[in-house]
């Protein structure tokens, strides 16, 4: 579990740094880089898994290939970015030393822990989800999407090509198999907590963007608290974002709606990287293909982008109208 946690903390950070460095969007801070790295981590798996399925590779060989490639990229990344990373680490140490305790973090943490408690005491909402069955089947058969996850029989007709693009359960299988994790613990405890943390990170990006001034620091904490309360008391009908975050945190759809969706909107609206930010949007969009079916992930993000451009046009018209009057 420790190696798993280290894998999901350190590797995305290095990958994110590398990716943002390559396309030249390095002004948005560590959280942005981390989330970008997480998207890249999933995208790399998507590419490897799809190719592996095409050539008929076994699951274990795919897992070893993926881990080797990620390891290699990270080592090369660290060598390439050694100066930047050194400076960054120095900065982080200085920042940590200068960090002043703000009591407002206490209610935010309290709400966060109450949300985590929910994962321990309430049964997960499985509904129409088959992720765990796919993970179990993948590990037991050492194949990828060759066996029916709900019966265990060899698939006769098989999956749709679009269905095979959703490789998130295979990614989970890789994590469970490589780090020797209990699948139930991984899916129903570790991943929901991870999704919740990522949701908070995206919201932190947003509140810093919406309330950027130094005197608005307290409002930032308050906004995070509102996000926490919304989630904690969000036991609405089982279609809402808050319900899914609290009861189905491992699902690709949940990650899409709670993390990727606001993240894409953030990348689009934060124009610090100019047009290069569209590359980041593309990576995030590719991630949604891995996370959920096209109609449940990619499509919504695509609609989001369309609405963004429509709203951008409307804002322009509004501003021009206001300037005239």
């Amino acid at each position: 579990m420790i190696f798993y946690a280290a894998f999901l903390v350190v590797i995305p950070f290095i990958l994110g740094y590398l990716v943002t460095q390559i396309y030249g969007d390095n002004e948005k801070g560590s959280i942005y880089r981390y989330l970008m790295g997480m998207c890249s981590l999933i995208c790399v798996f998507e590419v490897i898994a799809v190719v592996a399925m095409k050539v008929g590779m076994s699951f274990s060989k795919t897992m070893v290939s993926y881990m080797s490639i990620i390891g290699l990229v990270c080592v090369l990344g660290v060598i390439y970015l050694r100066k930047n990373l050194k400076n960054l680490l120095k900065e982080m140490v200085i920042n940590l030393r200068q960090l002043k305790f703000n009591w407002r973090i206490i209610p935010v943490l309290l709400i966060f822990f109450l949300q985590c408690l929910n994962f321990f005491i309430i049964n997960p909402f499985i509904g129409d989800d088959v992720t765990k069955e796919i993970v179990n089947t993948t590990i037991a058969t050492n194949t990828m999407y060759l066996y029916h996850p709900l019966t265990g029989k060899l698939l006769e007709v098989g999956m749709t090509p679009i269905g095979k693009l959703v490789t998130l359960p295979l990614f989970y299988s890789t994590l469970a198999s490589f780090f020797k994790l209990n699948v139930t613990t991984l899916l129903y405890l570790a991943l929901p907590v991870g999704t919740l943390i990522m949701g908070y990170l995206v919201m932190l990006l947003w509140v810093r963007f919406l309330f950027p001034k130094e005197q608005q620091k307290n409002i930032q904490f308050y906004a995070l608290m509102v996000y926490g309360v919304l989630n904690l008391f969000g036991d609405y009908y089982n279609s809402t974002e808050f319900y899914w975050v609290s009861h189905s945190g491992w699902r690709g759809e949940t990650i899409t709606i709670a993390v990727i969706f606001p993240f894409i909107l953030y990348i689009l609206i934060n124009k610090s990287a100019g047009k290069k930010r569209y590359l980041a949007v593309l990576i995030a969009l590719l991630t949604t293909i891995c996370l959920a079916n096209l109609s449940e992930g990619f499509l919504f993000c695509f609609i989001e982008i369309l609405i963004y451009f429509l709203v951008k046009l409307l804002v322009k018209i509004w501003e021009v109208y206001q300037c005239r009057t």
């Binding site: 008929g56 076994s58 109450l114 408690l117 005491i121 049964n123 997960p124 499985i126 069955e133 179990n136 089947t137 590990i139 037991a140 058969t141 050492n142 194949t143 060759l146 029916h148 709900l150 019966t151 265990g152 029989k153 007709v157 098989g158 999956m159 269905g163 095979k164 139930t184 129903y188 919201m203 509140v207 919406l210 309330f211 950027p212 608005q216 308050y222 906004a223 608290m225 509102v226 996000y227 309360v229 989630n231 904690l232 008391f233 036991d235 609405y236 009908y237 279609s239 809402t240 974002e241 606001p262 449940e296 989001e304 609405i307 963004y308 709203v311 804002v315 501003e319 206001q322 300037c323």
Partner: protein, 331 residues
């Protein structure tokens, strides 16, 4: 179009019956409009730009969601996923609400009043919904496997007492993943071999979620067509029929056991409410019924096993254990 309107209305009703989800969303959009729409200035690079963007994004995405034309269009393009609740995801609800709450609190200048306003907003949000920690529908965790205790006991019993399958597939071609996999599944080690199970729905839905060693005749997609529509292998008519029998087992015991014998299921799990009369279920190959021997619950005599018929050795399924509301039969 009329159908779409009714659909949206019904879904909104369902969503709102569980709390003021859409209410919070609409109020937040109104708050943003009230606080920010009158802002003056035409600079495009300041915070006003973000505010304007947010107001419009909230309004446009919400209109997109409740507009029957866009919903109709969406349902037409993606007929397989015409779920209105998914379209609701287009609205960045949490962003709009936290921004509106932040703006309201920021507007209050006095510290005490600001604190009271902040707490009041949090209370409104809390009262509009329900805390997850009291979710009675999902229930509290009974064990680390997140499976009802009785079900877990039944599944564990089958895992612990299963007989190993020893059939091996020729692995002359080492690259053949399927052969390798079949051998892995049919491992002679009883800890990893397959276990063929025909079980009532309450047990079957958890079987593969718990352990991939369980092989079922039909998946839980037989109960909910929304599950894995990306997989072409739908449950066959034969499996649908078997499931129908399992829904009313007391009326279809002959069919269930005959099917189980034919397919070679190691276990059958049935509700213990069914009344079994030992001695009435032995059917010989020629179709005649004979009393069972001892306490063995026999379903069918295998017509191909001549020795067994002549020696009178018991075949079929033996009732091996009762757990909770279920009884387990083992081959």
């Amino acid at each position: 179009m009329q159908d779409v309107m009714t659909y949206i209305k019904n879904m909104m009703h369902i969503i709102n019956s569980s709390g003021q989800y859409t209410g919070l969303m609409v109020i937040s959009i109104f708050v943003l409009v009230i606080f920010l729409v009158n802002k003056t200035g035409c600079e495009t690079k300041d915070q006003n730009h973000v505010s304007r963007f947010f107001i419009l994004y909230g309004v446009v995405s919400f209109v997109f969601t409740i507009c029957p034309y866009t919903t109709y269009l969406y349902c037409k393009i993606f007929p397989g996923v015409s779920y209105f609740w998914m379209i609701l995801w287009v609205v960045p609800v949490s962003l709009i609400i936290i921004y509106a709450a932040g703006i309201v609190v920021e507007k209050v200048e006095d510290n005490t009043k600001r604190f009271i306003t902040g707490v009041a907003i949090l209370l409104i949000i809390a009262l509009a919904g329900t805390i997850h920690l009291y979710d009675q529908d999902l229930g509290y965790v009974e064990n680390t496997s997140r499976i009802p205790a009785d079900t877990l006991e039944i599944l564990d019993y089958m895992l612990d007492n299963s007989k190993a399958e020893t059939e091996k597939v020729d692995l002359s071609n080492n690259n053949d993943i399927e052969a390798e996999t079949v051998n892995l599944l049919n491992n002679s080690d009883s800890k990893t071999g397959q276990i063929y199970v025909l079980a009532a729905d309450d047990i079957a839905v958890y079987a593969r979620n718990y352990n991939a060693r369980f092989i079922l005749p039909y998946g839980r997609d037989i109960l909910d067509a929304r599950i894995i529509y990306t997989i072409h292998d739908y449950n066959s008519n034969e499996m649908q029929q078997l499931h129908n029998w399992m829904l009313v087992p007391e009326e279809n015991l002959d069919n269930i056991f005959q099917n189980a014998v034919e397919k070679g299921y190691q276990y059958i799990v049935l509700p213990s409410t069914i009344t079994l009369v030992p001695g009435t279920w032995v059917i010989k190959a020629d179709g005649t019924k004979v009393p069972a021997i001892g306490d063995v619950y026999q379903a069918f005599v295998d017509e191909y096993k001549e020795d067994a018929r002549t020696t009178g050795e018991s075949y079929g399924y033996k009732r091996v254990k009762d757990i909770g509301e279920y009884m387990i039969f083992q081959k």
